[in-house]
């Protein structure tokens, strides 16, 4: 094996090991986090229900809360490894049955919003960076800053208010209109798209600002490099300097940001999902915190943590590909 290849394998192995250790630490922390808090979910769920002691005992047994903490921990670790995330206290269903549809729903909202955010962000950032210190730059940069700083729930609520005042041209909550027997998949898709419009707009607006600012700053750095001046001196047209010479290097920081942000697609949309009642992982986390639904919270945080760890791992691998300094040690 060549020294260069060996170095790469060591690098990948190290990163993979760190990722596995991180996930295990998260699993353990996940378990402890919810149990060191005072109170227990049975008390919250059944306060005032006048349950008999037998009924309360049965609930403790049903959810395994009658066992000592360390036994609960080992059961939790064992079950997590085999993919059994337990039974939800609030829904009384297997956590995976509650979590899986929520993950899909979050991705349905998160993926287009992220793509649009990246696309618009890179485009506006590119123009702002290229035309720096002009009216266009000021306009794009300030709009991005404002949207990035605005609290998501405020923007969402404002949009909802606007829709309500204009007679409800779009649904303001949920993912589908409940109770409709769709004639075909086409109508189901249309219904989904109608519900998607508002949260998609909010998420895109909230997301794109960071890409604009990063893209702008990165491009300004690159355009100060000597090779850009040389290209200009050689008479290379501006659009080629921008697209062929400046942009490939300016995109590097964006790539890592995209990789890290992708990790938040699952579970990172709590405010938007809550305001629009979008049944994703964000809403699930919110309602599970209120009801102390430990198994669902553990499951959701586990998925969220794993997706962030994987995203970071992917970012490391992309850097390995893009940055020769890492490849050659």
């Amino acid at each position: 094996m060549k020294p260069k290849e060996f170095h790469i394998y060591i690098y990948i192995g190290k990163k993979a090991l760190y990722a596995i250790i991180t996930v295990f630490a998260i699993i353990s922390f996940n378990f402890l986090l919810f149990r060191i808090l005072p109170g227990n979910p049975i008390e919250v769920l059944y306060r005032g229900a006048q349950l008999s002691p037998s009924a309360i005992d049965a609930l403790y047994k049903q959810f395994g809360l009658n066992q000592p903490l360390w036994i609960q921990y080992f059961i939790y670790i064992k079950n997590t490894i085999i993919g059994n995330l337990g039974i939800s206290y609030a829904y009384q269903l297997p956590v995976i049955d509650v979590l899986f549809p929520a993950i899909i729903n979050s991705l349905i909202l998160g993926i287009p919003a992220t793509i649009l955010g990246i696309y618009i962000g890179i485009w506006t950032g590119k123009i702002a960076g290229w035309k720096r210190n002009t009216m266009t730059d000021n306009l794009f940069t300030n709009i991005s800053m404002i949207l990035w700083a605005i609290p998501g729930y405020w923007l969402a609520t404002l949009l909802i208010l606007l829709i309500v005042l204009t007679g409800g041209v779009l649904p303001v909550s949920g993912m589908y209109t409940p109770g409709i027997n769709y004639q075909s998949f086409f109508y189901r898709l249309i219904d989904l798209l109608k519900h998607l419009v508002l949260p998609l707009i909010v998420l895109t607006l909230l997301n794109y600002g960071q890409y604009t600012i990063l893209m702008r700053n990165s491009l300004i750095d690159v355009t100060n490099e000597d090779y850009i001046i040389s290209a200009k001196a050689k008479g290379v047209p501006d659009y080629l300097i921008l697209n062929k010479h400046a942009m490939p290097n300016a995109r590097l920081p964006i790539v890592s940001m995209i990789a890290i942000n992708l990790g938040y697609l699952v579970g990172g949309l709590i405010l938007t999902e809550t305001v629009f009642s979008w049944p994703g992982v964000g809403w699930l986390i919110y309602s599970s915190i209120l009801s102390r639904d430990y198994p669902v919270l553990q499951g959701a945080f586990l998925i969220l943590a794993i997706s962030i760890v994987i995203s970071n791992f992917i970012a490391d691998m992309i850097y390995l590909y893009l940055d020769p300094r890492i490849r050659y040690g």
Partner: protein, 596 residues
């Protein structure tokens, strides 16, 4: 450094292309009328909203604890008898005639012989016996409702006999849902969810469960085989839709997505400005109380064990003003755990009056002198400094807490306010670490069931005051075995007397349950229905689900379906636009290459 020539890109063709595509798609989506999506678009659908983390726990009537689930269960299974909307009389349902004889300790019910489950199987005494025997199991969440039942037997296929011990049978156990024995005998009763997607739901009420999406919605459809024409609903579909927050629930109500929703005090101005909506306040059933920790082994401030301190604290509060300030008048002052609309509420007790002079006089008289810091101290030197804890969800009470602090300041008492999440607060209360807490209990409209809270046996779980009185405990047993309403009322009054004067709680107020509904679309809603959860809540709410009907019938001819030709035309236009733009881009690139 001089900036580079900003000639390009003046216009990004790809961005324009994307925007056109998005805009076209958006407009297409908007233009398509979803009412055409339904296979039967003449269906009348009524949608009730709810919000919060407790939507549906299970459809298993023996294990359900959530309000929405219990309301749904009440709509899909029959009960022996129904209470009238005002809860003052019993009306036939599954039983067409009955004889409740408290002197003989028996109750006999004759069942409707036409009653059938939705799968065509007759509803018989066997179903009733099975259901009640299951409710009486120790693990059942409704066992306490059947505490007055000794046994239940089938005299024949359509006659059921109960052996009972007290009047509470008539008030608590008469309207429990009956489930089909032929279905439920085959399931594990303690873990059965009551409904599973993909299998046909079998019920016997006016509605049947059609679909359930956890945390989002439950769709009920009219039972085509419902056997009681007098209780047949006017809507084809009933949807319970859950929202992540009350904000989005209100927005959905205002935009017409849902037809009825519970609202909060802060929503009132917005709802009142909407001419499509009406607000109905139902008699409050949630007792917002102030608990004083008087438990001898608790770690709260010991001065609260002195009744005179509790009296002074009670006199120092202007409850009427708090109601006006916080609840805009939509609350009723309370006197006990029994809500003021309940016939068992003691009418002779009056809310504690606001009297600062008297409060100060009591404290002076019993040796609580002012210390050098302006705070009173007990004769043995314990300062009257208390914690007031509230659960985080009690927004209005949290806002009122500083006002209460000022009231108590006027009598030389210092109070520190702290807000906790409900689980943490519950744990602290069970350990009796609190001084004062504001929380609530939901009480029943027709039976003083919440009086159990002050029982010695309720320490520590629910008896957060730590109040213990042997006489009170004895009276509770007598109440459960009372043989007439009059006797039960006398006992309940006496129990409330004891806790009122002992100030186990200061029962501050009962906020009204506010329901807003769309008056432009719906009519025949009985606004005087008595329920714990508004005019559409729990078993009494069934009356409104049965009576509600649209103001104007929606007919298929009123809906203009969007033809496939229009949809196709939109798609063709989008494709043409894309093709033209692509062509221009292509040409432009070609010409640039040529120049280079």
């Amino acid at each position: 450094m001089k900036s580079l020539n900003p000639k390009i890109p003046k216009v990004s063709i790809t961005v324009i292309l994307t925007l056109i595509l998005l805009t076209s798609g958006f407009l297409s989506v908007l233009s398509i009328n979803l009412s055409t999506a339904q296979s039967n678009n003449s269906e009348i659908t009524f949608i009730k909203g709810s919000s919060g983390s407790t939507f549906v726990d299970t459809f298993n009537t023996f294990k359900s604890s959530y309000a929405n689930a219990q309301t749904i269960i009440s709509l899909v299974y029959p009960w022996l008898l129904m209470f009238s909307p005002d809860m003052n009389s019993l009306e036939p349902y599954l039983a067409t005639s009955w004889d409740i004889n408290l002197l003989n300790h028996t109750a006999i019910f004759h069942l409707n012989q036409n009653a059938k489950w939705s799968d065509g199987v007759p509803i018989t005494a066997q179903d009733v016996v099975f259901s009640y025997n299951t409710y009486m199991q120790p693990w059942s969440h409704l066992k306490k409702w059947t505490s007055s039942i000794t046994s239940v037997t089938a005299l024949n296929n359509y006659t059921v006999k109960f052996t009972i011990t007290g009047i509470s049978f008539e008030l608590l156990a008469i309207d429990l849902p009956i489930v089909p024995y032929h279905i439920w005998k085959n399931v594990n009763l303690t873990s059965y969810s009551g409904f599973s997607s993909g299998s046909t739901f079998v019920g016997g009420g006016p509605f049947l469960i059609s679909s359930y999406t956890p945390s989002q919605s439950v769709v009920l459809v009219k039972n085509p085989n419902f056997w009681d024409p007098s209780l047949t609903p006017h809507v084809d579909k009933l949807i319970f839709q859950n929202f992540a927050s009350s904000t989005s629930e209100l927005a959905a109500l205002e935009s017409g997505e849902i037809d009825v929703a519970g609202i909060s005090i802060t929503d009132i101005p917005s709802v009142k400005n909407n001419t499509n909506l009406a607000i109905v306040g139902s008699p409050g059933s949630a007792d917002h109380y102030l608990v004083f920790n008087q438990y001898p082994n608790g770690s709260g401030n010991p001065t609260l064990r002195d009744i005179h301190v509790r009296e002074a604290l009670a006199y120092a509060l202007n409850i009427s003003y708090l109601i006006q300030l916080g609840y805009k008048g939509y609350a009723i002052p309370g006197v006990s755990l029994v809500n003021p609309g309940n016939p068992f509420c003691n009418p002779y007790l009056k809310p504690w009056p606001y009297n600062v002079t008297l409060a100060n006089k009591i404290l002076d008289e019993y040796g609580y002198k002012y210390g050098s810091n302006g705070i009173r101290e007990s004769p043995n030197g314990t300062p009257l400094i208390f914690n007031l804890w509230l659960p985080s969800g009690f927004t209005t009470d949290i806002n009122l807490a500083p006002v209460m602090v000022k009231y108590w300041q006027a009598i030389g008492v210092k109070v520190n306010v702290q807000v906790f999440d409900s689980a943490t607060l519950s744990a602290l209360e069970v350990a009796y670490k609190h001084d004062m807490v504001i929380w609530d209990w939901n009480s029943m409209p027709n039976w003083p069931s919440e009086l159990y809270v002050h029982l010695t046996s309720s320490i520590p779980e629910d008896n957060d005051a730590g109040y213990s009185n042997h006489t009170y405990d004895m009276l509770y047993n007598e109440l459960m075995n009372a043989t007439s309403i009059t006797q039960a009322k006398i006992i309940a009054y006496e129990m409330q007397n004891l806790t009122y004067y002992a100030l186990a709680y200061l029962n501050m107020y009962y906020p009204e349950y506010l329901t807003a509904y769309n008056i432009q679309k719906w009519t025949n809603i009985n606004t005087s229905v008595v329920s714990q959860a508004g005019i559409f809540g729990f078993a009494p709410g069934i009356w409104n689900y049965l009576s509600v009907e649209p103001k104007t019938q929606v007919t298929p001819s009123e809906i203009t379906p969007m033809s496939p030709i229009i949809i196709g035309s939109i798609i063709v236009i989008i494709v043409i636009i894309l093709a033209v733009i692509s062509y221009i881009v292509y040409k432009k690139k070609q010409s640039k290459k040529g120049k280079l």
